[in-house]
């Protein structure tokens, strides 16, 4: 058997080992210790419990932060989808002078470090005199979600034959009707996948939110402040485990929808 251990075997072994240790180990530890009956997260194992999960419900501040994150992310996703799809249309479906400029203009925020975006928006809101609140958080999240949606939907639109819509127009459709009946069904999977990712980005956004939130609390901000108090750690652990499972579920859903739309031929939305 030893003789069969080719370079391919060792490369495979190496790949799985790196993924197990560097990528998945902390997540597995996190979920495992959410069932540990102790506030100190170290071995030896102190016994199985689900009490940390029960305690989540006894923390109104935590529930409130989750609720805030949820509705902020829903509004952000809805507005970003509208603006992002419009931008994607302008990036991919029309030929005009300045198209390259417009594409760069929309894409630059996509590569800007979030820290820089966060402080720039803090300066802006304060100088203009807009009170920091969840409203400014929504405005800030939209400004990084619009480029995300635009880039993802535009890449799908690039594969779309514009003659299809032109044909619909020739056959008497109005512009909105042609979009609704022809273009939209084709780009719908990309829009849904972009919407799920945009939701995820907003729900998880910590860096930008940290600067523009003022006194209110979203879930990542709650985690950030709770991390300072050791007695909170098992509860963070439990709620994190739930969110890890839910988020993985959402990603699988997004990927499944996208693959169904693309006939499973192109690469993942995630890269």
């Amino acid at each position: 058997m030893k003789a069969l251990r080719t370079p391919k075997f060792w490369f495979a072994f190496y790949t799985y080992a790196v993924m197990a240790i560097l990528i998945y180990m902390p997540i597995v530890i996190l979920i495992t210790f959410s069932f540990n009956d102790s506030t100190i997260m170290s071995l030896p194992w102190s016994g199985f419990t689900t009490k940390w999960y029960a305690k989540i419900l006894a923390r109104p501040d935590l529930l409130k932060s989750l609720w805030n994150s949820l509705w902020v992310a829903l509004i952000v996703t809805a507005v970003s989808l509208v603006l992002g799809v419009l931008a994607a249309n302008a990036m991919a479906r029309y030929r005009y002078k300045g198209r390259i400029f417009f594409t760069g203009y929309i894409s630059i925020p996509f590569v800007m470090p979030w820290l820089i975006l966060g402080i720039a928006l803090l300066v802006f809101f304060t100088r203009v005199g807009i009170q920091l609140s969840l409203f400014t958080v929504i405005l800030a999240h939209i400004s990084f979600d619009v480029p995300l949606v635009a880039v993802l939907v535009a890449s799908r639109l690039h594969q779309f034959d514009p003659n299809l819509e032109a044909a619909a127009r020739d056959l008497g459709c109005g512009p909105l009707e042609a979009f609704r009946l022809v273009t939209f069904p084709i780009i719908a999977p990309a829009i849904i996948a972009a919407g799920i990712l945009a939701f995820n980005w907003s729900f998880d956004a910590f860096v930008v939110t940290h600067f523009v939130i003022g006194q209110q609390v979203t879930f990542p901000i709650w985690v950030w402040s709770a991390l300072r108090f050791p007695k909170n750690l098992p509860i963070i652990n439990a709620v994190s485990s739930i969110i890890v499972v839910v988020e993985m579920g959402l990603i699988f859903l997004a990927e499944w929808i996208r693959r169904r739309g693309a006939g499973g031929e192109e690469e993942s939305i995630l890269f």
Partner: protein, 299 residues
């Protein structure tokens, strides 16, 4: 009906289509254009402007000055932090390439059965809340954390390894965890793009496995390498949550200085100036990479 009226209707129809097309384009461009202008470009401009304003603790006056930039470049502490940031990001980048390249090579050139499933599994954790993942590493790396208590129970070590948490090492480990997928994928894509016929030709002409790697695969994967460096190095330079949670005093980075200028020291002018220094370094690096990568392609 005569041909004249037909062509007239036809022309009017075409004119209407052209008009609707321009109207459609305008309606598509303007809403996102205005939003991004007001909530991205205007704020960036304002930040640039106040980096030249006279600024102190909780004060900011619209008087032009270069003091904020001078303060940064004459302070040994800030320069030390700049150096630290550079060391941590560069160290993590080098390790990322060393760790990630063989994985990309394996996935792209050795034909594993489940290439896309493995890539997918590599990328999923990226979507999990980042603070939660940093917190998970804290549990793993701490003095009485999982790795230390595991190694001590095995008898490998007597004392907990102190350098695992609150150190540059800890920051680098978490950064590697965070960015590994973004390094693997561009290298994977460029390695996969190399036609098999090129490799077979080299093999027919008597090249060894090493020669093929050294003279074909490695040079042709350089664009992917550069792409991953742009994608990963820039955000690592601007990191602040990772050093704040696992870095301790020795792992302090420029991002932490910027954050504290805004949220505790109250010196926004200085904070903005440091932000722009960071941004300028980033842009120079990108330009450099593009230039080198461009030259590389010419060769």
């Amino acid at each position: 009906m005569t041909t004249a009226t037909l062509s007239h209707t036809h022309r009017r129809h075409r004119w209407r289509l052209t008009f609707q097309r321009y109207l459609g384009l305008t309606l598509n461009i303007f809403p996102p254009f205005i939003y991004i202008l007001l909530l991205f470009y205007v704020p960036m401009g304002m930040m640039f402007l106040i980096s030249f304003w006279k600024s102190g603790y909780m004060t900011l006056e619209p008087i032009f000055t270069l003091d904020n930039y001078i303060t940064f470049f004459t302070s040994p502490i800030y320069l030390k932090t700049l150096y630290n940031t550079f060391i941590i990001a560069t160290g993590a980048m080098i390790l990322l390439v060393i760790i990630g390249y063989p994985i990309a090579y394996y996935l792209a050139r050795m034909g594993p059965k489940y290439t896309y499933l493995i890539l997918f599994l590599l990328i999923i954790p990226v979507e999990i809340n980042f603070l939660i993942r940093i917190f998970a590493w804290k549990i793993a790396l701490g003095g009485n954390g999982v790795i230390n208590s595991f190694l001590m129970q095995l008898g490998v070590i007597q004392e907990p390894l102190k350098f695992l948490l609150y150190s540059k090492t800890a920051v680098m480990i978490v950064l590697i965890h965070e960015w590994l997928p973004y390094v693997v994928i561009p290298i994977f894509l460029s390695l996969r793009g190399i036609p098999q016929s090129v490799i077979e030709a080299a093999r027919d002409l008597g090249s060894s496995r090493y020669d093929i790697f050294r003279h074909i695969l490695l040079p042709l994967s350089v664009p992917g390498l550069f792409a991953s460096m742009v994608l990963v190095y820039i955000p690592m330079l601007g990191e602040f949550a990772v050093p704040a949670l696992v870095g301790g005093p020795s792992g302090y980075m420029l991002g932490n200085v910027i954050e504290s200028q805004f949220l505790s020291a109250g010196n926004w002018g200085l904070g903005s100036a440091i932000g722009f220094i960071l941004l300028a370094i980033t842009l120079v690096l990108v330009a450099l990479v593009i230039k080198i990568a461009g030259v590389e392609e010419l060769l």
